[in-house]
Structures are given as structure tokens and as C-alpha cells.
């Protein structure tokens, strides 16, 4: 029997919000309240190891922004992720273009090929790069064996560029996929029309391909920037001194130094930073890019 005489579909329509209850409740309890808690702790006062008292002070934030070390860590983090992002776009674009333009029918297979090693263990991959780039790693022993260098050099490892390489390995498929989707949706006739109207290859690329790729670029940035800013395993394992990132600092303050107020304040700053960077990208690339 129908619960309402107004008709079946209206009834179904009216009931729809019930389906939202489990997910919103869950996130309210385990995500939104904890975030509020995080912000709350960030105003507390630090006493000593794992000891802090409730307060409403800005000193954690002040300390973060006045300390040359912490601000440098933040800027360093943004720099490393920025470089990785730029390189990912530069490397990913030709691949996506190749797949979309020339081998469309086997696109799924090529993307699958890229995804397989990436969807399985993340730490294994960091470990793999360590074995290659480390002082006692493949690269060094290869170069010694070939005779390019005399003894192993510690230059490939424990620096920020190692982080960039591993990050690229981590995210390349997730950059290629949105770019590919964007490129795929450009009908071939648009390129032909541009040629027909007098545009050369380069002009076509600059005036047609690139602007129409904006949604893909924006999606790629969303996908890579946010988790990469909060990375701490990669820098811890391959980063060394020049690759100290804000994730390491938070982990250190939270678990080792026991300074929750500072760690939570840094987390809030990290959260804000990632939202701001995404916001800037949306602004630069145009909001309409999000809704094609």
C-alpha cells in the first residue's frame, strides 16, 4: 500500500533525504567533530612533554609563523610538491595526448598498465626507490661498474629531488587519467577546423588544446596537491635534510615531542594551505573549468 495518495514518485522523492542520514551522521561524529577538536587544541597552551592545558591563545600559531624553521618547512613543502606537480603535468601531458589522440582504442589497456603497480603498496615503492637511489643502491653501483664515477656518491638520495621522483611515481597515472579524459572529449573536428581556419600546429595547441584541457589540469592538481602536501613517509625515507616536510614536523611534534597544541596548529595551517592552494588554482584556471 502506498503511504501517500500523492503518488508513488512523489513519495519516493520525499523519502530521499533518509538515505543521507548514515553518511552525514558518521562524518559529523568522526570527521567534523574531530576537526573542531583539532582547532580547539590548537589554541591550548603547551607545558612540557605531553602536558598541555586548555587556553585560548594564539601562541602556537605565532610560534609557527615567527619561527624561521617552521615557515621554511612549510614553504619547502609547497616548493617540493609544486615542482613535482609541474613535472607531472609536463610528463603526463604528452602521454595523455598520445593515448587520447593516437591509441584511443587501447587507452584502457595502457592506463591499466600504469595503474597496476601504483594501486599496490605505497611503502614498497618508496623502498624500491631507496634501493635504486641510495648510496649503496643500483644507480651508484651501476655507475661505478661502468666507470663513470669512482666510488658511490651520496648525491641521488636524501634530498628533495628524491621526493619529487617518488611523488611522480606515486601520482603519474592519476595525472594522466584526468588529462586523458579532457583530451578525449575534444572532438577531432576541432583540431581540423582550427587547421582549416589557418592555424598551424603550435597555434592549434595553444589556442584549442590547452584551453580545453583546463578541467583535466585542475582535476589533476586536486588529486595530487592535497595528499602530497601532507606526505611524511616519503620524506622520512628518502628526503633527508633538504626534504624535511610539514608532515614530518607534525608527526614529530605530535608523537615524539608531545606538543599537541603546536602539532594541531600546524595541521590547521596545513589544511588551510591545501584549501588555499586549490582555491588559487581554481581562480587561475577559471571556475567554469570544473563544470564543463
Amino acid at each position: 500500500m502506498l503511504p501517500s495518495r500523492k503518488g508513488l514518485l512523489t513519495w519516493l522523492g520525499r523519502r530521499r533525504w533518509i538515505n543521507w542520514i548514515p553518511s552525514t551522521t558518521y562524518l559529523l561524529l568522526l570527521f567534523y567533530i574531530p576537526i573542531a577538536m583539532l582547532m580547539y587544541y590548537s589554541f591550548w597552551r603547551y607545558l612540557k612533554l605531553f602536558r598541555f592545558e586548555p587556553a585560548l591563545t594564539l601562541e602556537n600559531y605565532l610560534r609557527f609563523f615567527t619561527s624561521p624553521i617552521y615557515t621554511r618547512v612549510l614553504l619547502n613543502t609547497i616548493f617540493i610538491v609544486g615542482v613535482a606537480m609541474a613535472l607531472l603535468l609536463i610528463v603526463g601531458f604528452p602521454i595523455a595526448y598520445f593515448i587520447a589522440r593516437y591509441v584511443r582504442s587501447s587507452a584502457d589497456r595502457i592506463i591499466l598498465l600504469m595503474l597496476i603497480p601504483v594501486e599496490i603498496n605505497y611503502l614498497i615503492r618508496i623502498f624500491a626507490w631507496r634501493t635504486i637511489l641510495g648510496e649503496n643502491g643500483i644507480l651508484n653501483s651501476f655507475l661505478v661498474a661502468v666507470g663513470v664515477i669512482e666510488k658511490p656518491l651520496p648525491i641521488f638520495f636524501y634530498n628533495w629531488f628524491a621526493i619529487v621522483i617518488v611523488t611522480m611515481h606515486e601520482w603519474l597515472p592519476y595525472v594522466v587519467i584526468p588529462l586523458y579524459i579532457s583530451l578525449r572529449s575534444i572532438p577531432r573536428s576541432l583540431y581540423e577546423a582550427a587547421h582549416d581556419l589557418g592555424a598551424s600546429r603550435l597555434q592549434t595547441f595553444l589556442k584549442i588544446t590547452l584551453p580545453l584541457c583546463k578541467p583535466g589540469i585542475l582535476t589533476a592538481i586536486f588529486i595530487v596537491f592535497i595528499p602530497a602536501l601532507g606526505e611524511f613517509a616519503i620524506p622520512a625515507l628518502v628526503g633527508g635534510k633538504s626534504g624535511y616536510m610539514i608532515g614530518n614536523m607534525i608527526e614529530n611534534q605530535l608523537l615524539a615531542a608531545g606538543n599537541w597544541p603546536l602539532a594541531t596548529a600546524a595541521s590547521v595551517i596545513l589544511l588551510a594551505t591545501s584549501l588555499i592552494i586549490v582555491g588559487i588554482m581554481v581562480k587561475i584556471l577559471g571556475m567554469e573549468a570544473l563544470y564543463r
Binding site: L2, R5, K6, G7, L8, L9, T10
Partner: protein, 356 residues
């Protein structure tokens, strides 16, 4: 006592927000009739069909099937069945399972299901496709499956929502003839919605013309085509030459009209008053090349444009009275742009656009 109509709509009204989709629609469909609801897109014709099928509820008015009010019956309890515009064949089921779907949910015995599916498949010439997947069928075959899926339920009223839209012209013609054949052989009541007047003309017993939610005309297509009651109906069913004219004389079953620069003789209509301004129409195919000077209902003009349409040619010409008129001749006439032609038409073909 007379049997009630198979389908009856009484004062059906539907609004979406501020937009009136249907205004006061009253329509009765006889049993065994093929009626087409014809209207441009946005005229409300699909809404009307949805209301009959039970997917929308009218704000006002009644829907009756065989005399029973079914306003509050949900779609799965109505004795109607719909062939959707996009067919909505279930992609996870094969042809047999699609056709049998309605019977299965109604818990028909297995033998009966098999018998009925076989019957429908044979009727529509798809018995060889019965094990295929839906995606392996051509457009025309899919149409047939969708139709079979509804027909096995032996609905009191079958609703068809522009199902032939995506087919190409040739296939469409074939399916039109096929649909007509099936409907005639079943003597079933069908309500067909389309925006294509040629489709409506070739298929239906009666046509209901809908525009902006209003029912403008109901009747057999020939009558509506030849004696439309409004300019919209006349234009919707084909091209025509329209004139505004003053009634100057009414006598002996004839009416003399004056457009200001040209005199027209038309059959008279009851209720015409001298001096009144009215709209008249002449279909382009009623205009003939005049062999000799006619006293009235004639004109001379210079050919502006020719459009070939296969067997006939549309001639646009500017008359000595300053009108741009359209005439339609068979392609055999040799006329060139710039030629001067003399044309004439008979009084019966001057149609006064007025209801009743």
C-alpha cells in the same frame, strides 16, 4: 446503455510551478482506435501521456479507462502500457526476458509466459532474435522488442511516446506501416504521441492537436488538414498562404472577400457578417497554373524562388497584388526563376479559418 470509451480524459489540468503544461483537456478515445496526439515540442503531449500512464498526476480532472477513474492508481496497477521514447529496454536482460518481464512480475505460469512471448515475437517478426542481448539489436529491432514487451500484457490502452524518433527516414516509414498493421490486427486502443505531422497522417484514425497545453482540434486528419480552424493548426500540418480579408458580400452559398488589394471568392460559412475581418488560407497544392484568364481567384506573379522536393517543386512568387505566395506543382512543369506565371484556384479551396 452505451459502452464507455476505452480512455477518457475529463478537464485534465497540470501545471509545473507557474507553467501550465496542460489546460483543461477533455478527450475520449474509442476502443480499437489509433489516436495520435500531435504537437510541437513543449506542447504538453508527453505530459499528457505520462498522466495516462500514471507517472504524473493531474492537478485537476479525471482519467478514466473503461469508465473507471484511475487517477490514484499507481502505474504498476494500471491497465495501460507505455512504449518509451528511448524504449527503456532493460540492458541486463535478453530479448525474451525483456518481453516476459511484465508477465513474470505478474506471476503468470511459465507455459503461459512462453506462449504469449512467442505470440508477440511472431506478430512482430522477432522470433529469431529471442536469445539476443539488447545491445546486439538494430534500432528497428529494438522498437519491435519494446512493442512486444508491452503487447504481451494485452493492455487496455497502449501508449507510445515518439518511439520512432531516432530511426532514419526509410526505417521509420517501414515501422509506421508495421505499427499500423499490428494495431489493426489487434483492434487495440493506441495513443501515439509525435511532433511529425506526416507520421500522424499516415498512421492514425484520429488526431488530436495540442499546443501550449491546449487541445486545438480533434478529428480525422483529412478534415483537419483541409478545414483547419486556426492558423496554428493550418501551419502545423503543412504550408499555406494566409490572407486577412474583409467580408464584402455573402450570397448564394458564396462569400466575397477583399484582402485590400485582391478579391477572393470562398464558400460561405454560417455566421459570417458583412464587414467582418477574417483569416483565410489557401494550400499551395491547390494553386494551379491558369490556362486562361479566370474572372476571380486568380493572380499573376513573378517567380522568386524554386525549391525542388523530388516529385514536386515549391514555387515562391510575388503577385501583382504584392503578396508573396507559395504554390506547389509537379516537377514536370518547367518554370524558372524570374518567369511570370498565371495561377488560379477554386473557391472551395479558399478556407475560412474559424471554428464551427
Amino acid at each position: 446503455m452505451t459502452t464507455p470509451p476505452a480512455l477518457e480524459l475529463l478537464n485534465v489540468t497540470k501545471t509545473y510551478g507557474n507553467v501550465a503544461a496542460l489546460r483543461d483537456i477533455t478527450l475520449a478515445v474509442r476502443k480499437g482506435e489509433f489516436i495520435t496526439i500531435l504537437g510541437p515540442s513543449g506542447s504538453g503531449k508527453s505530459t499528457l501521456l505520462k498522466i495516462i500512464g500514471g507517472f504524473e498526476e493531474p492537478d485537476k480532472g479525471e482519467v478514466r479507462i473503461n469508465g473507471q477513474v484511475i487517477n490514484n492508481t499507481p502505474p504498476f496497477k494500471r491497465p495501460t502500457s507505455m512504449v518509451f521514447q528511448d524504449l527503456a529496454l532493460f540492458p541486463h536482460l535478453n530479448v525474451f526476458e525483456n518481453i516476459a518481464y511484465g508477465l513474470k512480475v505478474r506471476k503468470f505460469p511459465r507455459d503461459e509466459i512462453r506462449r504469449r512471448v512467442k505470440w508477440a515475437a511472431e506478430l512482430l517478426h522477432i522470433e529469431k532474435l529471442i536469445d539476443r542481448r539488447i545491445t546486439q539489436l538494430s534500432g528497428g529491432q529494438q522498437q519491435r522488442v519494446a512493442l512486444a514487451r508491452s503487447l504481451v500484457l494485452e493492455p487496455e490502452v497502449l501508449l507510445l511516446d515518439e518511439p520512432l524518433g531516432p530511426l532514419d527516414l526509410k526505417l521509420r516509414r517501414e515501422m509506421q506501416i508495421e505499427l499500423r498493421r499490428v494495431q489493426r490486427s489487434l483492434k487495440a486502443t493506441w495513443v501515439y504521441v509525435t511532433h511529425d505531422h506526416e507520421e500522424a497522417m499516415t498512421m492514425s484514425d484520429r488526431v488530436a492537436i495540442l499546443n501550449e497545453g491546449r487541445l486545438l482540434a480533434v478529428g480525422d486528419i483529412k478534415t483537419i488538414y483541409e478545414k483547419p480552424c486556426s492558423r496554428f493548426v493550418a501551419e502545423f500540418l503543412g504550408e499555406a498562404n494566409f490572407f486577412e480579408a474583409r467580408v464584402t458580400q455573402v450570397a448564394e452559398g458564396k462569400t466575397l472577400l477583399d484582402t485590400g488589394s485582391m478579391l477572393l471568392l470562398a464558400p460561405s460559412k454560417p455566421g459570417l457578417r458583412e464587414g467582418e475581418i477574417i483569416q483565410v488560407m489557401i494550400r499551395p497544392e491547390k494553386i494551379k497554373l491558369a490556362k486562361r484568364e479566370e474572372p476571380i481567384n486568380r493572380s499573376k506573379g513573378k517567380v522568386l524562388d524554386l525549391t525542388y522536393k523530388g516529385a514536386f517543386v515549391d514555387v515562391k512568387f510575388e503577385t501583382e497584388h504584392g503578396y508573396v505566395m507559395l504554390a506547389r506543382f509537379t516537377s514536370t512543369e518547367s518554370i524558372n526563376i524570374g518567369d511570370t506565371i498565371e495561377v488560379a484556384w477554386s473557391a472551395e479551396d479558399v478556407i475560412i479559418l474559424r471554428c464551427r
